[in-house]
Amino acid sequence: MSLDKPYLDVPGTIIFDAEQSRKGYHLNQFCMSLMKAPNRERFKADEVAYLNEWPMTDEQKQAVLARDLNRCMAAGGNIYFLAKIGATDGKSFQQMAGSMTGMTEDEYRAMMLAGGRSAQGNRVVGEDGDAQAHHQPQGQAGRQGTN
């Protein structure tokens, strides 16, 4: 009997389960290393050299260098771990989360101030909400290709 994973049809969402965790082990452990100030300095001084100290896949390294958190998540990253990269860059959680939507920082902040994203249409893949794949990218950042 297969494992029960009812969360696979939630749009725009990757649940960090044991399978993702196995895939992302070294990526996430690299993120953990950024909790030490000397490591943050070494990473900032030479990102590629620092990443090469970790047995990560090329895709994981490229995703980190591009600061593309969606790619990082697909490669097994978890947002609580990936937040350490944002902290190293001096970014807030809001800036990090917003960067994954294709919206500019201002667009995302405005959405949150207006009460956030509605669950309507965003509960199951195939509905018509703004988080559905056919509505990406959502904002100016994505359309300008700067995300």
Binding site: P6, Y7, V10, P11, G12, T13, I14, I15, F16, D17, A18, S21, Y25, N28, Q29, C31, M32, L34, M35, K36, A37, R40, L69, N70, M73, N78, I79, Y80, F81, A83, K84, G86, A87, T88, S92, F93, Q94, M96, A97, G98, M100, T101, G102, Y108, M111, M112, L113, G115, G116, R117, S118, A119, N122, R123, V124, A131, Q132, A133, Q136, Q138
Partner: protein, 293 residues
């Protein structure tokens, strides 16, 4: 005999900690949120516990992917604020209560809940932001704190039902501690939020408030909420709400044996304060204070 007299529930958003530390609490963005905690700070002063059992989740801070305990209880003398990448928060060191913590570990494990016993760990915003919200910026925290960490980062995470039952076991443990102690149990984290992907920023005000209504009035039914409902309705990180059910299960109106109707009728809880606000950074903020009557 030690006794749990009250439970406190609150979100523990990191940006709230940053707003406090950087002196931004009166800015227009933050002012409505902190106003919701003014009563709470006064209440804390008038209802100072001897010990707080603080249920929170570690955000990939003390526990990396090297070890992922589902439930972990801190039995140390003290805990340092963690460096989560921004440097440690400028808040007091957290004093523990090793004797009560060790007693709870012994009792709860004997009630068939596996706890990981932790004698050394740093504590992140999950633990320190609730203390700041309830106590302000004191020189020292008002009482010892027992950190109780729950894995809600890597699935599978414990069910609401298991958390609720764990709360009952914690109450039983506390009540078998010989010293007279006034104990609070806090459930932290949660309310609508999703920090990831194209769905980031999901907020479901109606669902959050209906969940709160049910958690107060019919916690046993609330505990039956399956994980997938939290994810679909309150966002992927809304799953943190299961931790509130540990504190709720520890209140005296929840009978240890659900079929014991006499016990169920003998106690009730009083809602001292309830607050809800959107947004704080990416999330909705919920807050509740319950007292045993």
């Amino acid at each position: 005999m030690a006794k749990i007299t009250a439970s406190v529930f609150t979100s523990h958003v990191p940006a709230i900690g940053a707003a406090i530390d950087l002196g931004k609490t009166t800015e227009p963005y933050w002012q409505p949120l902190f106003k919701g905690y003014e009563y709470s700070k006064q209440w804390m002063k008038g209802n100072k516990p001897d010990v707080i059992i603080l249920v929170f989740n570690d955000h990939a801070t003390a526990f990396s992917l090297e070890m992922i305990p589902t439930f972990a209880i801190g039995t140390a003398e003290s805990y340092q604020p963690a460096d989560e990448g921004w440097g440690p928060r400028p808040v007091p060191v957290v004093r523990g209560h090793p004797e009560l913590a060790a007693h709870i570990a012994q009792s709860v494990i004997q009630q068939d809940f596996d706890l990981t016993i932790v004698n050394k760990m740093d504590v992140d915003h999950g633990l320190t932001v609730p203390l700041s919200l309830m106590c302000g910026q004191p020189e020292a925290w008002p009482c010892p704190v027992i950190p109780f960490a729950v894995n809600v980062v890597q699935y599978p995470v414990p069910s609401g039902q298991r958390c609720f039952n764990l709360g009952k076991a914690i109450r039983k443990a506390v009540e078998s501690f010989d010293e007279d102690l006034n104990v609070h149990i806090w459930g932290t984290g949660g309310m609508s939020h999703q920090l990831q992907g194209a769905r980031a920023g999901l907020i479901n005000r109606e669902w959050d408030n209906a969940w709160l209504d049910q958690m107060i009035a019919d916690p046993a039914a609330c505990a039956a909420t399956p994980h997938i409902d939290y994810v679909r309705e309150a966002g992927s990180e809304g799953i943190e709400l299961v931790m509130w059910l540990i504190a709720r299960g520890a209140m005296s109106d929840v009978p240890y044996d659900a079929t014991d109707l006499e016990a169920a009728r003998a106690h009730s809880v009083e809602v001292k304060h309830r607050f809800y606000h959107v947004p704080a950074s990416n999330t909705a903020v919920g807050h509740l204070i319950l007292e045993n009557t």
